[in-house]
Subunit: 303 residues, 2 copies
């Protein structure tokens, strides 16, 4: 059984290595750090980057919080049937959202997290997903194959199962669109999954370590592409959808806002600028229309 201290330290080192890799690829932007304390216990190390060469606005956030589990959280968000009395909990993780300047560089999100309670219940969770403003099939394949390679080292079903969960999770029902080309999503992974605590921690490390080389490759490939005003406007509209997903559906955002989390850290996921147009319909056979045709569940991005 890995201690929460070991997991916490690894998440801190992951935040460091990802920030370094992103700064290096960006070439200009520097993360600024805010340390914060949570009144009820614990705190976080929020790192925000704004106005880089490639990254317009983004965050790489570490937090480790603890305290009494509110009944509401036990009921709504976690695993109510296993919480019969008030429990102390410890939760730690790293969350990332990057909004690039260039419309041909995709938005990316990652979260890896660990949760435990005094009653011995623990689990890992996490996910990565890619939201291109314009879906580039080559990039989507590259991204999913990197995730599949990471997953396959740990279990032959992980990629298949977690890719399907991402399709379900990163979905905007009122738009009938997926948020982007998906990725992987997993939650409440513990010994009941058939893997040991140590094996699951190794898997979470693998996911965390996959982020930087995969996303910086996509930054590098696309950051110098030229774009038009129409491309930029489409990017703002797609960011509008991202805002809709995060504020209406995202459970991490909901959990954070409802439990009096640090608002500025939670809402770092929102872009610098987003737009909405009434009933915008892309031109027939345009790249914008083609992108919409890819925003569906059950796309196969591995072959």
């Amino acid at each position: 059984m890995t201690s929460k201290g070991q997991i916490t330290n690894w998440f801190l080192s992951l935040q460091d290595s990802i920030c370094s890799a992103l700064e290096q690829e960006d070439g200009k932007g520097k993360f600024e750090e805010d340390n914060w304390l949570r009144k009820e216990g614990g705190g976080g190390r929020t790192r925000i980057i704004q106005n880089g060469n490639v990254i317009e606005k983004g965050g790489v956030l570490f937090s480790a919080v603890h305290g009494k589990l509110p009944q509401k959280i036990g009921d709504d968000f976690i695993l109510s049937r296993e919480v019969s009395e008030i429990q102390h909990f410890y939760a730690t993780g790293v969350s990332i959202v990057i909004h690039p300047k260039n419309p041909f560089v995709p938005i990316v999100h990652m979260n890896v997290r660990y949760f435990e309670m005094d009653n011995g219940v623990w689990w890992f969770g996490g996910g990565i997903d890619l939201t291109p403003h314009y879906v580039d099939e080559e990039d989507a394949l590259f991204f999913h194959n990197a995730l599949k390679t990471a997953c396959d080292k740990h279990h032959p079903n992980y990629y298949h199962d977690f890719k399907n969960r991402a399709d379900d999770y990163f979905y905007i029902p009122h738009r009938n669109e997926t948020r982007g080309v998906g990725g992987i999503f997993f939650d409440k992974l513990n010994e009941k999954s058939g893997a040991t605590n140590e094996q699951l921690f190794e898997f979470v490390k693998e996911v965390g370590n996959t982020f930087a080389p995969t996303y910086t490759a996509l930054m590098n490939k696309n950051k110098s592409k030229s774009f038009t005003e129409e491309n930029k406007y489409w990017q703002l509209l797609r960011r509008g959808r991202y805002v809709e997903f995060n504020l209406v559906y995202d459970l991490g955002t909901k959990f954070g806002l409802e439990t009096n989390g640090r608002t500025e850290s939670i809402l770092m996921s929102l872009p610098e600028t987003a737009s909405w147009a009434y009933n915008y319909i892309p031109v027939l056979n345009s790249p914008e229309e083609k992108t919409l045709s890819f925003l569906k569940k059950n796309m196969d991005w591995t072959t």
Copy 2:
């Protein structure tokens, strides 16, 4: 007892008169109309204005929908204790949100609505609230005094009670800010309030008729004011807060999205463009800081 047909027709005429008044004051923008049908019964007449002289993006929406009341709606949104079996319902109303171009013209919202069920239960609801990007005390007083005058014609307690409900409703807990300078909010007004159906309909008409002269006066007063890039940026940040309120807390938005409403009509409330900055703190003693100091509950805007 006023028939639902009479109420519906009055709401249609209200939409007409408000659209005319707004077009006249704007001088350029024209409403475009989309009629839509709801699969489960009823439909709406959505009117959207974009790229006017004064109005950047806004909508004046009429709808009249009917059908079986889903249990979920009975439980979550309406009055669960009075719904013991599946009821047929009829709901009609007018909803308005206007986002102006000039940062010194305030955002405005109004909703008036009527709901009835086959079991004889009925009520009126509604509200108006003003969200200035920069709070101008004279404008806030003018706005609230217009609402108080309208309320006072119908009941001496209405303004006091409905102003306090607006303070509670148009509030963003995660920002510890009201959405703007508030207004009035009322819901489930029926015979139990002590007024008759006819008296309440007259009150709702009074509220509806107060909208156009009050808001066009604020458009007229402020539309030609010059503004800087800093003013414009602040407007985008305030619009970001508006988006947060509407997507996270607004019950009409939530109800619409969860009941498979017409997304483009529901989300007409979102601005053309909005911005987010990490941990933005206005300069000491700036107009922006002064505005934040006004975004509190229990402000007295009548004297």
